[in-house]
Amino acid sequence: MSDKRIGMEVSIAMAEAVKLANVDCISAYPITPQTHIVEHLAELVAEGELDAEFIPVESEHSALSVCAGTSAVGARTFTATSSQGFALMHEILFIVSGMRLPIVMALANRALSAPLSIWNDHSDVMASRDCGWIQIFTENGQEVFDQTICAFKIAEDPGVLTPTIVNLDGFTLSHVVEPHILVSKEDVDKFLPIYKPLFTLHPDKPLTMGAFGMPEIYSEAKKAQDATVRDSYPVILEVWKEWGKLTGRNYAPLETYRMDGAKIALLAMGSFCENAMEAVDHLREQGIPVGLLKLRLWRPFPFDDIRKAMKGLEILVIMDRAISVGGIGGPVCSEIKSALYDQTKRPKVFSFIAGLGGRDVPPEHFEEMVHQALKMRKKKKVEEFATIGIRG
C-alpha cells in the first residue's frame, strides 16, 4: 500500500473515489457546494476515463428518480447533492430506501433557506433524518475518500441493500485542498467486487418494484426496513475493518479523542471535530479532564457505543449544527438524550447549537461550551439548549 500523499480538492478526491468504485451510472444536478464533485465526474466520463453513463437532468427530484431506475436494473449508481437539492429529493429518498436500492450519495452539507445561504451546517441532512438511508459523517478529505468507497460496499451488501449517504461539510471540506492517500484500482477492485443485485428489472424476467402496499402489508414492510438498517451495524463494522486492513486507516461508529480519564466530553459531528480537538488539547493543558466524542455513524444510530462511552462521564456537551425550531433544539442532542434515558448512571447533558449557515465555530467556542456547562450544572433549571456566538 502506497502512502504517497497527493494534494487535491476534497470534492475531486471524492470524484476519484467514485471512479475507483467503478460506478455504472451517475445522475446529478449541480448545486453549490456539491458542484465540483459532479463536474469532475462529468469530465471523467466525457474523457473516457470512467466507463459510466452520466445522465444530466433538470432537477434533483429527477436525478434521484433516474438513480432509482438505474439501480433497479442493477447498475452501481451514484449521485451527489446539497441543501435545497436534497430537500427536492425528499420524496424519492424514501422510495429508494423502501425499495432497497443501494445508491450512494454524497451530501455536501449546507444550510436550508430562508434566509438563503450557500454555507455549511447540518440542517439539510437533519431535516431528512428519517429517510431510511444509512448516514455517515466525515471529518477530513481522507475520510471522505475512504468512506465513499466503503459506502458502496456497505450499501450493496446482500443483507443490507440500503442506500447510503456520505456527508461532507460544504466548503469547509468540499472546497479545501488536502493531502490524500489514494488506493490503487487493483486494491479497490478486490475490496469492492462487482455489484450483484438480488432483483433486477429485466424484460426476460418480469417483476414489479415499488408496488402498492395495502394496509395488510405496509406496517410489515416498514418493520422489515427498520430491522435491516439496525442489522446493517455489524456489516458496517466489518466493511470498515476490512478497509482498515487494506489501508491502515480505521473507522468506528463513535470515535474518541483524549477520552482517557475524561469527566467531561464534547460531542460533535463532521469537520468541526478538528476544531474541537484543539479545544480539548487546550482545556487539558488547563487541567480540565475533557475529551471528544466524534459521532461518525448517524444511521443506524449507535446506541450501545454511546451508552458505553458515558462510563465515568459527569458532563456531556453536545454541539448541534441544526435547529429543530420550536422543538427540542438540537436533533443530535435529542437522540443522545433518548439513548441515555433508561441508564441509571448518566452524565448531565448540555445542548449547544452553533455553526449555523456557515458561522465558524473556532476552538474558543468549544471551550466556552465546556465553561458554560460547568456553570450550568450548578443551576436547578437550564434552557433546552444554549447558543454560542449569537449576538444579543
Binding site: T208, A211, A221, A227
Partner: protein
C-alpha cells in the same frame, strides 16, 4: 400468488416488497369497500352495453344471456353505470352488513 398478503410476516416479505410473480394483481378483490351495488332489472335492459363502456374499473362483463352485469369483486359502487343507463334499468342499492 404464493400466499395472501395478510399471511406474510415482516420476516418473510420479499426484499423491498418486490413482486416476483407477474400478473398477480388479479388475485386481489378490490371491490370490498363499496357502499352501494348496482342491481340490473333485466326486463328493461336492451343489452346496449353503455354501462360496460362507461364503467371506469372495467368491472362489468357480459353474461351468458347477453346481459351486462357487474362483477362485485371489483365493482367500487360508483354508480356511473346507473347514471348512464338509457333505460334506467340499473338501480344502486345500499350495501348491507
Amino acid at each position: 400468488m404464493s400466499k395472501p398478503i395478510d399471511q406474510f410476516t415482516w420476516k418473510d416479505i420479499p426484499i423491498g416488497c418486490v413482486v416476483t410473480e407477474a400478473g398477480n394483481a388479479r388475485e386481489y378483490k378490490t371491490g370490498d369497500w363499496k357502499s352501494q351495488r348496482p342491481i340490473v332489472e333485466t326486463s328493461k335492459c336492451i343489452k346496449c352495453g353503455v354501462c360496460w363502456v362507461f364503467c371506469p374499473d372495467a368491472a362489468i362483463y357480459k353474461n351468458a344471456e347477453g346481459y351486462f352485469v357487474a362483477n362485485l369483486d371489483y365493482c367500487k359502487g360508483c354508480g356511473i353505470c346507473a347514471r348512464e343507463c338509457w333505460t334506467g334499468c340499473i338501480k344502486m342499492a345500499e350495501e348491507e352488513k
